[in-house]
Every structure is written in C-alpha cells, then in structure tokens.
C-alpha cells in the first residue's frame, strides 16, 4: 500500500496511507503515513461505527497540512487479545449417515442465506465454489484428510481458494446467527476451533503437509499461525 503512495505521489497525486502493520508502513515510509494499531482487515477500525471512522479520516486528512513527509500514529489502539469467539449455536445433527462437517454445513445454510440477504455476499462463498456446492468442497477435504491424494480428491479448485470459500461460507453464516458485530478474528476462531467444517479444512491441510505436498499448495488454506 505504501509503495503505491510513492508511485502515485510521483505522478502528481497527494496521498495518505493508512497502515495496520507498524513495521511495514514505517519502513516503506510513504509521504504521508498514519499508523492505526487496529486488527488486520479493519483499517478504519470499527465496523458500524461512523463516528470512529470519521475520527480516523480526520487524522488522516490532517496530514495534508504537513509541508513535507510525515508519519503519525492514531491515538487509539484496538487490541485483539485472541479470546473473543463468536457464540454461534451450531445446528443439531440431522443426517447421522452424513459426515459431521457435511451435516453441519447443510444445517448452516439458512443462517448463511439470512446474512447474505442482510449484508450481501461480500466475503462468503463464490470465489470458486458457491453456496450450493460448498458441501461437495467439504467432502473433498474429508477425502484428503482420510488419505486421498489431494489431486485425486476432486477438490473443485485451488485448495487455498476453496478453503477460503468454505471459511467465508461459515463466517458469513455466523453473521446470520450472531446478534452483534463480532470482534476481529472472532469468526475465524469460531470456524477453525469450534466447527466440524474448520476442523476438516485443518485436517486436510495437515494431511497435505505430512504428505510433503508443495508448501504453497496447503499453507494458505488457513491463517499462517495455524
């Protein structure tokens, strides 16, 4: 992002770069940089809080008054301590013959549809696998976790992209189940730590790692600290 600031400025545009990673924005040293110590993915800080977002923008635009390159820190931090988890009731088992993750994904569909109707499909399924076929994607990951080579498991796309669709399906469904705006990463922790779907993605990823599949193929199926 800060690289673009340098490029744009050289072309004659005045820029203000926001940054959530202090090292990144400080080292790239854009002409005008505002480090906001917010969770990754939330550069304006708080979803649904227009007043807070306006405070960030006011500080950002104030940098235009500087006579030369300037780097400032936004006065307030938003911390993610790693403990908030979305409290979402999971659907009861419906089909005892189905894999638990498959049964779970089917049961979450009404919540997913409610969230899409309310917010739109901004991060949900649909990159390579739409909601109607998310179960097939999960079944493919089940096969990988059970020992099938990933190339023979009928994964409907690049594994990382398919895993993103599964995660997006679940995190969007969670928004349909929750009664509040979740803290950063709360939905991700719920998916990977508390659902059969997340467990299946992680199990498939681990099976690929153990089978010495190329690192880039399996690593990006989940956040890198996993």
């Amino acid at each position: 992002m800060s690289t673009l600031a340098h490029v744009f400025e050289a072309e004659g545009l005045a820029t203000i770069a926001l940054g959530s990673q202090r090292n990144q924005i400080a080292n790239t040293a854009p002409p005008r940089g505002l480090w906001c110590d917010f969770p990754l993915g939330r550069p304006l800080g708080r979803p649904g809080d227009a007043e807070f977002q306006h405070r960030v923008l006011a500080d950002a635009f104030a940098l235009l008054d500087a006579g030369g390159p300037v780097f400032e820190t936004f006065e307030e931090s938003i911390e993610d301590d790693g403990t908030e988890i979305m409290a979402c009731p999971l659907p009861p088992r419906h089909d005892p013959d189905a894999h638990p993750a498959v049964d779970e994904a089917r049961g979450l569909r009404p919540a997913y549809d409610r969230a899409v109707a309310r917010y739109g499909n901004r991060v949900g399924a649909g990159r390579v696998v739409d909601a109607d076929h998310i179960v097939e994607a999960i079944e493919a990951f089940v096969r990988v976790a059970d020992g099938t080579h990933w190339k023979e498991a009928a994964i409907p796309g690049i594994p990382a992209r398919v895993a993103q669709d599964v995660r997006g399906y679940y995190e969007t469904a969670a928004l349909g189940l929750a009664d509040h705006v979740p803290g950063a990463w709360a939905g991700t922790r719920w998916f990977f730590d508390h659902t059969e779907g997340g467990n299946t993605v992680l199990a498939a990823r681990e099976a690929m790692r153990v089978a010495e599949v190329k690192h880039a193929v399996w690593f990006y199926m989940a956040p890198g600290d996993r």
Binding site: A5, P43, G124
Partner: protein, 148 residues
C-alpha cells in the same frame, strides 16, 4: 490465534526502499476531489476476480455498493468488511464529508489492487503509474490508501 501473532509473521517482510520521497502539495481539502485506493482486492461481482500474483487493478464505482473481497491471503479478518464496507473502503464516510463541505467531492471511480505481492516491480513500473493516470484523468487530487 490472535491478531498479534499474525502480524508477527509478516512484520519482518522486506519492504521496498525509496531513495527519494516524492511529495505533491494538494489543493485545499475543501476543494479537492478524493479517491480511495485499497489493496483489499475489491471488485464488483461482474468484474474479473484477482488471480494469484495479479498486479493489476480493478475500478470501483462510487455509485455502487456491491463490492466483493477477492483477496487471496487468509491472514486478515474479513467479518468487519462483511458487515460494513466502510471498515475497509470508507465510501459512505467520504460522501458524508463531501456533503458537509469538508472535502470538495468524491471521485466517481476508485481503485483496488491486490496487496499480497512479493514482487512489486510491476506495480511500481506499470499498474501503479497507470492507476494514477486514470485517477488524474478524472480530476482526483487526493488519494486515501487503505490496506487490509
């Protein structure tokens, strides 16, 4: 898993060094046209998704709100954007600032790039200057850059 741990993974990634910092003095903000440029890989549903290593950009219309996140990285929270686009792309906030006369106007077109790039040479030499020229052609004075 916490935000701090994810940030720690990428904190030491080598960043480009610019020997000279270009600096453009803008017109007064109340007269300026403002655009947002994000590295969140946003696009409209009917536009091409971002491919891995995609160094191009997509044009985002200010008249629409159907922005989709096409980022390949799993290393950031997406639920903030899911419930409020302004968490990443503060287009409604700019409209409010324009209505109050704080900024001159909001650009009709904004840009999105893919931020997960390890080789930035194409962005520096090709798509970056091209995007800037596209913004200048529509009279943009000030660009707000938002990452994810």
């Amino acid at each position: 898993m916490a935000d701090e741990q994810v940030k720690a993974m990428t904190a030491d990634i080598e960043t480009p060094v610019f020997e000279r910092t270009a600096f453009t003095r803008p017109k007064p903000l109340r007269e300026a046209t403002v655009a947002i440029v994000t590295s969140a890989s946003l696009h409209h549903p009917d536009d091409d998704d971002f491919a891995p290593g995609d160094t191009g950009y997509r044009v985002l219309s200010a008249a629409r709100r159907d922005y989709v996140m096409g980022h390949w990285s799993p290393n950031f929270d997406t639920t903030g954007f899911a419930v409020d686009i302004n968490t990443v792309f503060p287009i409604d906030r700019l409209d409010e600032l324009a209505a109050r006369g704080v900024i001159g106007s909001v650009a009709t077109e904004h840009l999105a790039y893919a931020g997960n790039q390890f080789d930035l040479s194409a962005v520096r030499l090709d798509s970056g200057p091209a995007g800037a020229k596209q913004l200048l052609a529509q009279g943009v004075d000030v660009v707000l850059l938002t990452p994810v």
